[in-house]
């Protein structure tokens, strides 16, 4: 179950770290159970706000925050909430943190909140968050839930950055708003348009598939 370290020389610290259960709880979200590339969850926000790297990062952070806070609260209340009303309660909790995040982002920058638009509010219905609440936090301790949330959040951020940087680079010629190519660069406008989002995600998924296949062989 641990992440494989093929290099013999590295055995020791990394191996131990990798095989410790709490590290694994965190690490699994990065690649093995990456929410976007492997579980294919939270597609809507992934596609919609990954047109620049910065937007992707902000969205990723916001999602991670909500995921973390709701996981904590749900894990600590897991023995209190009756089964019949659990979904409604989870939604309440998640919506609360999303609202808080929304206000926080508005307070930080008008520009950013304009760029992310309604998608901050739509974190509520990001299947990933409810999914983690239902599948993990409601059954595990607070500590493990924190690790899980951080892992999944990091995985989500990685995915958004993967998409965002490439889309911004090709579509805008910049990364994090910093121009990389000379001014004369001919932008691939499609990359920041919806079809480009679909294609880019498809290509990243393909890369992941290829990696998995290679590993399997």
């Amino acid at each position: 179950m641990s992440i494989q370290t093929t290099n013999k020389a590295n055995e020791g610290f990394w191996d131990k770290l990798a095989s410790s259960p709490s590290t694994d709880e965190y690490m699994k979200g990065l690649f093995r159970e990456n929410p976007v590339f492997v579980q294919v969850l939270g597609m809507c926000s992934t596609l919609a706000v990954s047109n620049t790297a910065l937007n992707g990062l902000a969205m990723g952070l916001a999602t991670t925050f909500v995921l973390l806070m709701s996981n904590i609260l749900i894990a600590s209340l897991r023995n209190v909430i009756p089964k019949q009303v659990r979904i409604a309660s989870y939604l309440l909790i998640i919506a609360t943190f999303v609202t808080m995040t929304d206000y926080a982002i508005q307070a930080i920058s008008v520009e950013l909140s304009k760029a992310l638009g309604a998608f901050i509010a739509l974190i509520v219905v990001n299947c990933q968050i409810l999914g983690r609440a239902e599948a993990f936090a409601s059954k595990n301790t607070v500590w493990r839930s924190i690790l899980d949330a951080l892992g999944m959040g990091t995985g989500f951020i990685i995915a958004l950055l993967c998409l965002g940087t490439v889309r911004e680079l090709l579509g805008n010629g910049s990364i994090f708003g910093i121009p990389v190519f000379p001014d004369s660069f001919q932008e691939w406008v499609i990359m920041i348009l919806p079809p480009g989002g679909f294609f880019m995600l498809a290509i990243w998924l393909m890369v992941f598939n290829a990696m998995k296949q290679r590993k399997a062989v």
């Binding site: 019949q84 009303v85 409604a88 309440l92």
Partner: protein, 288 residues
């Protein structure tokens, strides 16, 4: 002030919703045995139909309703069956492992092809074109429909295009039985060791013209067998498995090795007097 308003508003809202949900839970709830889901979860999800039900869920329903026992599942491991049994508080209903067996030994090294078949490379397709071009009409065509249809990778074609069943993987789901156009497969309990490896209804040299390992209907096995264990019907020996004689005697004098003893370790064991196979490799030519 706004704190108060919002507290009341949201508190009221949740109160309202909670009441509604509770009411709905009582009035509108439709009972469905939750055990069905649990049992379905425990089943292997192969949906192979080996149990006789159209899929795993109907089987799970039948299990929960006590209509069948877990042992009917041909795919699940013993552990899995025991788990389901203990969950439902029933008997496992252990059944002996059944496997699929092929009644032909005529690979390309020993059996002749009369004609060269062109077309779709499936037995189903070939069988409809003058029987598929194999010299022996009853023999295996070797295009591997059974290999393709087996969901458990239990059937592989050997070097002579003859299917070999891996008894450890075989679940006796019956797909190969259905798919074989020559009806060469049948399901048997694994304890049936004595096995007639031929379906050719001809007798004598005419069999040998087409295949070196065919049954020539000489009847030696039937003579050697104790009691009525083997009888000759339609130019083929038929083993009466209900007699359950655990003997290798009948196979010993078979001149072609058409009747064999299936051993767990060594596979098909031929009798001591069976002839060595002369031809090697694929043979297409040679019309006799």
């Amino acid at each position: 002030m706004s704190v108060l308003i919002s507290l009341t508003a949201l508190g009221g809202l949740t109160l309202l919703l909670a009441i509604m949900l509770i009411w709905a839970n009582k009035k509108l709830y439709v009972f469905e045995d939750p055990r069905i889901d649990t049992v379905e979860e425990m089943l292997p999800h192969a949906n192979c139909g080996g149990c006789g039900f159209p899929g795993c869920r109907p089987f799970a329903e039948a299990l929960v309703n006590g209509k069948v026992l877990p042992g009917k599942c041909t795919v699940s491991t013993d552990d899995g069956k025991a788990k389901i049994a203990s969950y439902l508080g029933v008997d496992v209903g252990a059944e002996e492992k059944w496997v699929a067996r092929l009644a032909c030994a005529g690979g390309t090294n020993v059996a002749l092809n009369r004609a060269r078949y062109n077309g779709v490379k499936t037995c189903q397709g070939a069988a409809l074109v003058s029987g598929g071009g194999k010299g022996c009409f009853w023999g295996c065509l070797g295009h591997g429909d059974c290999e393709a249809v087996c969901d458990f990778d239990a059937i592989t074609l050997n070097a002579f295009s003859l299917p070999v069943v891996d008894v450890t993987k075989c679940t006796a789901c019956g797909d190969c039985v259905e798919v074989c156009p020559k009806d060469l497969f049948s399901l048997h309990p694994i304890s049936h060791r004595l096995w007639v490896n031929c379906k050719n209804l001809e007798h004598g040299d005419e069999v040998l013209e087409d295949c070196q390992v065919g049954c020539t209907a000489c009847g030696k096995c039937a003579m050697d067998a104790p009691g009525n264990l083997i009888s000759m019907i339609n130019n083929l020996p038929v083993v009466n498995y209900s007699l359950n004689h655990n003997t290798q005697v009948p196979i010993q004098r078979c001149p072609t090795g058409a009747i064999v003893w299936l051993d767990d370790k060594q596979g098909a064991v031929k009798g001591t007097e069976s002839k060595k196979i002369v031809r090697k490799g694929e043979r297409l030519e040679g019309f006799s």
